[in-house]
């Protein structure tokens, strides 16, 4: 009896977690513009693909996400490797700290940094500042994924390589790097998603001509709800789900 009560309660809690997204997805296929079901239609998807602002946002977001993911994966991998070789409490502390820092605080501090740097450089806010900002917050995610993989990696493998005459660099690139490859790919995909999704930090450091997809969606959601937003959201949810699934598979290897 008690067990059943617990099960029903849990089912409701799970429904609370899933219903909103399911409803959102369902109504993206609705014929009507209003929240009344009037039959299946793909018209909002067609409308989304013909919207120049959404397309521009998508292109910008893809550029940013790909660059940010590549750069942060390189830096994050090296940081994790460095922490594994010589544990550094200051570094690992600031790693966790950057994960719990409210996004808005990260955003304004990067904005302040950029504005300060602009005194010496003749630059303005734009896609490049967005990329730098995204690298800054993606590193922590990459480092944590790689560090988790390194925890179960045996120090003696590298030592054996060096005993057999490999230089430190060779031991890293020929022995450790191949072992880490799946984790690095997983971390890169995670960084891609994290970067593509960000609105708060991006909105602060983006220039007038560098709107990303989340910024366009935010502006549309603010104006009032259009089923076009539902359609775009559905596409995002599905592609994120696929990428994360691949990423998790890779992490288990």
């Amino acid at each position: 009896m008690r067990q059943r009560g617990l099960a029903i309660y849990s089912a409701l809690a799970l429904a609370f977690l899933h219903a909103p997204l399911l409803v959102l997805v369902a109504f993206s296929f609705n014929e009507s513009r209003f929240t009344v079901w009037q039959g299946f239609s793909l018209r909002w998807y067609v409308a989304a693909m013909q919207d120049p602002q959404l397309i521009e946002g998508l292109v910008n977001s893809l550029i940013v996400a790909v660059f940010a993911a590549l750069i942060s994966t390189v830096i994050g991998t090296l940081a994790a490797y460095g922490m594994w070789r010589r544990s550094d409490t200051l570094l690992s502390g600031s790693l966790y700290l950057s994960l719990v820092t409210p996004e808005i605080v990260t955003g304004v501090s990067l904005l302040a940094l950029f504005q300060w740097a602009f005194r010496f450089l003749h630059l303005r806010l734009g896609l490049h500042t967005v990329i730098v900002a995204h690298v800054a917050f993606s590193i922590a995610y990459v480092t944590i994924v790689i560090a988790a993989r390194l925890r179960s990696y045996d120090h003696s493998l590298e030592e054996a390589a060096m005993d057999l005459g490999a230089s430190e660099w060779h031991a890293f690139s020929r022995v450790t790097l191949p072992v880490l490859a799946p984790a690095i790919a997983a971390a890169g995909l995670l960084a891609l998603v994290v970067s593509f999704d960000d609105y708060v930090i991006t909105s602060l450091v983006a220039g007038v001509d560098s709107q990303t997809l989340p910024m366009v969606i935010y502006a549309m959601a603010r104006k009032g709800v259009s089923p076009v937003v539902n359609a775009v959201s559905t596409l995002i949810v599905v592609s994120f789900g696929a990428i994360i699934l691949i990423s998790q598979r890779l992490q288990r290897e």
Binding site: L14, H18, V23, Y96, I104, Q115, I139, V193, S233, F240
Partner: protein, 262 residues
């Protein structure tokens, strides 16, 4: 790492002690005026509001998440499936998840349309742009943060302890109150802190679902850096938020809880 994290933080620290410039930005002289303004009743109200909403959201997460975690820890071979179900929405876009509630709660949204078509209410209920909507959004977004550590703790409890309690005549409710809850306290504390930290600094959820009326600390920071163009004050508020998050995290990492879970 240092460059990407410490440098921006150092700048914010410095800015918080400067005077605001005419067109945004900062000027000398150095001053602690921005910190003095933090105790202005107007801003203190925002502090209390953020603390209150953050605590309420954390409380709701405990109420919703504890039974869920208990259920999952007893679900046998379905454990991993249920855990994946809890995590699944978490891996979709944060903006999309918040927008979903906008879609459900607004005047012409799902709930109001349904209520009106069944003639339960005449005019649409004001479900959006209030504290309630913000609370729902926060709980929805951060519930997995509570469920995961809670599950990890409950899963490690020795079932023999519960059986022993039952054998000694404790009813299920007494077992829950006197055995399970005290033993799983580390998980409850860890999960609560993990929910409370992001709630305290939340920006997007109160912005979209609170509609400008529910101003929390995150919105105050954003406003000072954009519309109000008072960077020193915005920096001071950021610094306070940052310190609060760091202290909570440090407390969590030092406690027995972290050693057991991480």
């Amino acid at each position: 790492m240092a460059l990407f994290f410490a440098a921006p933080m150092a700048i914010v620290c410095a800015y918080s002690f400067l005077t605001r410039g005419d067109y945004g930005g900062v000027e000398r002289p150095w001053t602690i005026e921005s910190f003095a303004r933090l105790v202005d009743p107007l801003y203190l109200a925002i502090f209390w509001r953020s603390l209150w909403i953050g605590s309420a959201a954390t409380g709701l997460c405990v109420l919703l998440g504890f039974p869920l975690a208990l259920f999952i820890s007893r679900a046998g071979r379905f454990r991993n499936l249920y855990l994946q179900l809890v995590l699944l929405p978490f891996w979709t876009s944060f903006l999309v998840r918040t927008y979903a509630w906008l879609f459900i709660l607004r005047d012409t949204g799902l709930v109001n349309t349904a209520l009106q078509s069944f003639h339960i209410v005449g005019a649409p209920l004001p479900l959006l742009y209030n504290d309630g909507a913000v609370l729902v959004g926060l709980v929805y977004n951060f519930l997995p943060f509570f469920v995961l550590p809670m599950y990890a703790t409950l899963e490690r409890l020795d079932p023999a302890l519960m059986e022993a309690a039952a054998d000694l005549g404790a009813r299920p409710s007494a077992t829950l109150r006197r055995v399970i809850i005290p033993l799983s306290m580390p998980g409850i504390v860890a999960g609560s802190v993990l929910v409370f930290i992001p709630c305290l600094g939340a920006y997007l959820t109160p912005d979209l679902l609170g509609g400008g009326k529910t101003v929390m600390l995150g919105n105050l920071v954003q406003n000072q850096f954009t519309t109000a163009r008072d960077w020193p004050f915005g920096s001071a508020v950021s610094l306070v938020l940052m310190l609060a998050s760091a202290l909570l995290l440090a407390g969590l990492m030092r406690s027995r809880v972290a050693k057991e879970l991480l």
